[in-house]
Amino acid sequence: MLEVENLVMEYGGFRAVDRCTLTAEEGHITGLIGPNGAGKTTLFNLIAGAIEPTSGRIRYMGEDITHLSADKRFHKGLVRTFQIPHEFHRLTVLENLMMVPGHQAGESLFANWFAWGKVAGDERETERRAWETLEFLELTHVADERAGNLSGGQKKLLELGRTMMTDARLVLLDEPAAGVNRTLLRKLEEKIAILNKERGYTFILIEHDMEMIEKLCHPVICMAEGTVLIEGDFQTVRSDPRVLEAYLGETVGDAA
C-alpha cells in the first residue's frame, strides 16, 4: 500500500532520515519503533507531506505522491496524528472533530449563501459522528471546552479522535499512547484493532509502549539513525541484540 524508497531528509548536513526503504501492507498494523531521534517522526512528516524529502520516493497505492501537498494526500485517505499535539486551540473540542471531514458543503462560500439546506444536512451528519467519537474517547464532558485548555493526555486523545472522523485508508499514528492513561489506552488498542479489522484501515504506529506494540503490530520495524535496522515480527525484533542495545536497554528487554 505504501512504499518508501531510499528516502533522505537532510537538515543542514544532518541526515534525519537516511536512505530509508520500507513498505506497509494493506490491512496490517505496522509498528515503527526506534530510539529517540531515530527519524520516525520525520519519516511520518515526509509520508504525510508536511515536509519535502531531499531525495527518494514515496508511493501510495501505486501512485507516486512524493511531491503531492499534504491536503491532497489527506483526500486520498492518508491521515496522520502528531506526536506533539497540534490541536486547534481556540476551537472547541467538538469543532476540532467537526472540521475534519473533507469536502463539506459548507466550506464553499457559494453553498453557504445559496444552498443552506444542504449545508445544514451535512452539518448534522458531521456532528453526530463527532459526538460518537467523543463518547468513545470519554471526552464528552469537555466537548465545549476550548481545545487549548485540555490536559496533555486529552489532547493526545483528540489527535486520535480526528483520524476517526474520516474514512481513512492509511492512518499514521505518532505515539498515541504517550501521556495517555493506561486504562484508557487498553480501550484505544481495542478500537484500533476494530478499525483495522472491520473498516479495513491500515495503520503505521510509532510507539515506545512495548505492550501496545506487541498486542497490535505485525510486522514491527525498528529504525535507527534514520534508516531501517530490522524488520520482522515482534519477538524477532525484540530479541535482536542491536535493538536491545540501542533501544530497549537490557532490563526492559528482558521484562517485556
Binding site: G49, F88, D144
Partner: protein
C-alpha cells in the same frame, strides 16, 4: 435649529461609520477570522476608490477615463479590481507569517500610494480625480445625505449578513482552524494557501467597495485620503477596539472610534481660543489616551469574539 444641526452631523457620522464599517468587516475576515495581518488596507481602499472614480467620471484631460459608466458598475468594478489586485499580492505575500505579512502588505500599499500619487496618465497624480458622480447628489443637502446613508447602510447590512452566515458555517470553522494551526489544518486536508487567498481576496474586495463609497461621497478622491494613518491604522484601531473576530464588534468599534474622535474635539473646544491650536494637539493626545483606556478596560474589544461552536447551538 440646534438639534437639526446635530442630526445632520449624526447622519454624516452614520455614513462614515457605514463606509468604515465595510473596511472593518473586510479586515475582520482577513484578521479576525483567518489571522492574516493585512496592514495594507489603504492600498485596497485606494484601488477601489480610484477604480470606481475612473469608471464613472466623464472625460478628463491628461488621464485615462471618460467611461462615464453608471455608479453601480463603478462599485462593482471597484470590488473586482481590488480583488484582482489582491490576488497576485496574496499569492506572493500570504506565504509569510504574521508580522512579515504585515510589513509586506504595508510595502505594497505604499507602492500603490506612490503610483497613485505620481502617475498622471492613470490617476491625475497628486491632483486627484474630481467630478465623481454621487448618487442622489442633486437633492438638497439633508435629503441627499439621508439618501446616501440609506444606500451605504443597506450595503453594509447585506455585507454583514453575508459575512455572518459564512462565518457561522463550516467555512468559518475551517478558517479559524487554519488561523489556529496551519500545519494541522493542512494535515486535515484543508488547502490552506487557497483558503487564505480566498479570505484575503474577499476582504480586499470589501475594502475596495469601501474606498469607492468614500470617493463617491466626496465626489473626489486624492492621494491624501490613502495616508496609512487614516486608511490603515485607524481601521485596525477600530477592529481591535470593537473586538476582532466579531462582526458586530467591528462595526461598533468603528462607531466608538468616530465618537471618541468627535468627542475629543468637543472637549478641546472648551479651551480658550488663544490656545486653539495647542488644543488640537491635546486632542490628539486625548484620542491616544482614550484608546488606551478602552484597551485597558476592554482588552478583548468591546464585543469580544464569541466562543463559537458551543454545542448548545445545535440548530445551525
Amino acid at each position: 435649529m440646534e438639534w437639526i444641526g446635530l442630526l445632520n452631523y449624526a447622519v454624516f457620522m452614520a455614513i462614515f461609520i457605514c463606509i468604515y464599517g465595510l473596511l472593518a468587516l473586510g479586515l475582520n475576515i482577513q484578521w479576525g477570522f483567518t489571522g492574516l495581518f493585512n496592514a495594507g488596507i489603504a492600498g485596497f481602499f485606494a484601488v477601489g476608490a480610484y477604480a470606481s472614480a475612473i469608471l464613472t467620471t466623464p472625460e478628463a484631460a491628461g488621464r485615462i477615463g471618460g467611461f462615464d459608466l453608471p455608479v453601480p458598475v463603478g462599485w462593482a468594478g471597484a470590488m473586482v479590481l481590488a480583488a484582482a489586485i489582491a490576488w497576485p499580492i496574496g499569492k506572493i505575500c500570504l506565504r509569510f507569517r504574521s508580522d512579515y505579512l504585515a510589513i509586506a502588505t504595508i510595502g505594497v500599499a505604499e507602492i500603490i500610494r506612490l503610483v497613485v500619487k505620481s502617475e498622471d496618465w492613470l490617476t491625475n497624480s497628486a491632483r486627484g480625480v474630481t467630478n465623481i458622480p454621487r448618487p442622489f447628489g442633486d437633492l438638497p443637502y439633508v435629503q441627499s445625505q439621508l439618501a446616501y446613508l440609506a444606500l451605504v447602510g443597506g450595503i453594509l447590512l447585506v455585507v454583514y449578513l453575508l459575512v455572518e452566515r459564512q462565518i457561522a458555517a463550516p467555512w468559518g470553522r475551517m478558517m479559524r482552524a487554519i488561523r489556529d494551526n496551519e500545519l494541522a489544518a493542512r494535515a486535515m486536508g484543508k488547502d490552506v494557501p487557497f483558503r487564505r487567498l480566498e479570505a484575503f481576496i474577499f476582504g480586499a474586495a470589501l475594502m475596495g467597495l469601501g474606498g469607492a463609497l468614500f470617493a463617491h461621497l466626496n465626489r473626489a478622491i486624492t492621494p491624501e485620503a490613502i495616508d496609512p494613518m487614516v486608511a490603515t491604522f485607524l481601521v485596525w484601531i477600530m477592529l481591535i477596539l470593537g473586538g476582532s473576530g466579531n462582526n458586530r464588534g467591528a462595526i461598533l468599534g468603528v462607531a466608538v472610534v468616530w465618537v471618541i474622535w468627535s468627542f475629543s474635539e468637543i472637549l478641546t473646544d472648551q479651551f480658550p481660543p488663544e490656545i486653539a491650536i495647542k488644543a488640537k494637539y491635546i486632542r490628539i493626545f486625548l484620542i491616544g489616551l482614550m484608546l488606551q483606556l478602552v484597551l485597558r478596560f476592554r482588552p478583548e474589544g468591546i464585543l469580544p469574539e464569541p466562543q463559537r461552536g458551543v454545542s448548545g447551538k445545535k440548530d445551525l
